[in-house]
Symmetry: C2
Subunit: 304 residues, 2 copies
Amino acid sequence: MSSLLPRSVEIVEVSPRDGLQNEAVNFNNSEKLFLIESAIDAGLNRIEVASFVNPKRVPQMADGDEVLRSLSERAMQGAIGLVLNERGLDRALMTRVREINYVVVVTETFSQKNQGMSVAENLEALYRIAPRAAANGLSLTVSLSAAFGCPYEGEVSIDRFSSVLSAIAELEIDEVAIADTIGVAVPPMVEERVALAKELLPSDLKIRCHFHNTRNTGLASAYAAVIAGVDALDSSLGGIGGCPFAPRATGNIPTEDLCFMLERSGISTGVDLGAAIEISEWLSQKMGRPVPALLGRAGIFPPQ
Amino acid sequence: MSSLLPRSVEIVEVSPRDGLQNEAVNFNNSEKLFLIESAIDAGLNRIEVASFVNPKRVPQMADGDEVLRSLSERAMQGAIGLVLNERGLDRALMTRVREINYVVVVTETFSQKNQGMSVAENLEALYRIAPRAAANGLSLTVSLSAAFGCPYEGEVSIDRFSSVLSAIAELEIDEVAIADTIGVAVPPMVEERVALAKELLPSDLKIRCHFHNTRNTGLASAYAAVIAGVDALDSSLGGIGGCPFAPRATGNIPTEDLCFMLERSGISTGVDLGAAIEISEWLSQKMGRPVPALLGRAGIFPPQ
């Protein structure tokens, strides 16, 4: 097979946050803890576990601080908390979380709707947050949301994407996550935008990609991202995060399907596929419907 | 974007045959005709429309000859019939079909179970069929089934695949279709096997790939096949061909999702996405369940 393939890629499990946030069924604290600890058992060491956002806007995440208080020490080593503003950072600093993910939406309309501020205002907040995170020893990822298309403005030009990259290039951050929030990325766009991020950002900054399988192109984009040299990919066990029966479903790419594709391609993820499928089945039972992931239904190949 | 992308790829619509064959709901003759003629209206000119197999084994296809009698002249120009033996060829020659698809299973156990003969016996039958097809002016595709993995024998070695390619390299055929019958192909395997086919087969022979989305890797494999230089890809409207609620679902890759990915990547397919989604919705209503395709649920992007 091709000699250009990387030997491994890091998987960031987002089901406890991006996954559950978009599900109708509410998971209680102990169920979230079970999900997180089981994911670690399956080899998913880096996990988005909580969101320091306004609990009135996202009630599923209201117990974020409590979840963080209850997690084991090994879970805390790879636990990530989502932060959308300085109040969120304040809350994160009161917990044991050592890594945060800050979201910058690339387009104006979506930035106003999602964050309640302009892109420039959001970047200014980030300019205050990044030094505070660094001073407090927090790892900081900046997620560039709607990087491949906007639900309100349509296409996102390479110039718009480039200008946001340039605006964060001088900051003391650890990672940039290029996020296809609405599932409209395709492989050539992924190659182009990952290459641009590598060109405009410092070489020691990690690059991560976040895809949704909204239009069935998520795994093709993820594979393109790996070939383009990203360090990490987001995914959610079962592909939860969007109801398959709802219009405009927006599930994350399924962890077990992604890891099956990568492992079978010779790219190590460290994930135990059988264990991942078991968690997925538990999620399915808890939610009372099949999850979007397909590996559990079809079976690992070759059979083990 | 990348300059290595081909400008176009041909889509072969397989829903009337590989799709419906695996569905519990039976479509009558006029419904099949509606599906085929609508698919042509949507830009899908090359369509697998019938199967000249034993009607006792595949009752859904028993009306193949009748479907072919009723099709319009424009439909007949791109109509393909599946043939599994010389009796099938005899039946095909009694119809207006101008193109046939003959299946060679790459592995012994699956060949015995699916065709009732060994690989060598099947190749011998093909050696009689190929000249007869050519003498009668029929285009002939040879599909290599289970080319990426076998449901009975597991992994299919590159040597086994190579030996079957070599066995057909001297025949007067028009196209070889490399088929991932059970949905276990991944991009590096696709690159490797397409490259090998190009190396071992005459340069004027067309190469086509056939993927199932059984483990969510179908579109990633299809994209890899296009980059590897295949001339054509199989897909089915709605992704029909496997029930999403059944264990070991085996749907074809969905035509509308595939064409969305390719068109958005700058690779022309000639398919009208909106028209494809409409047919898919009709299929969904007729079958009384959602189809696996996601584009219709999420919507074309950017909105049109």
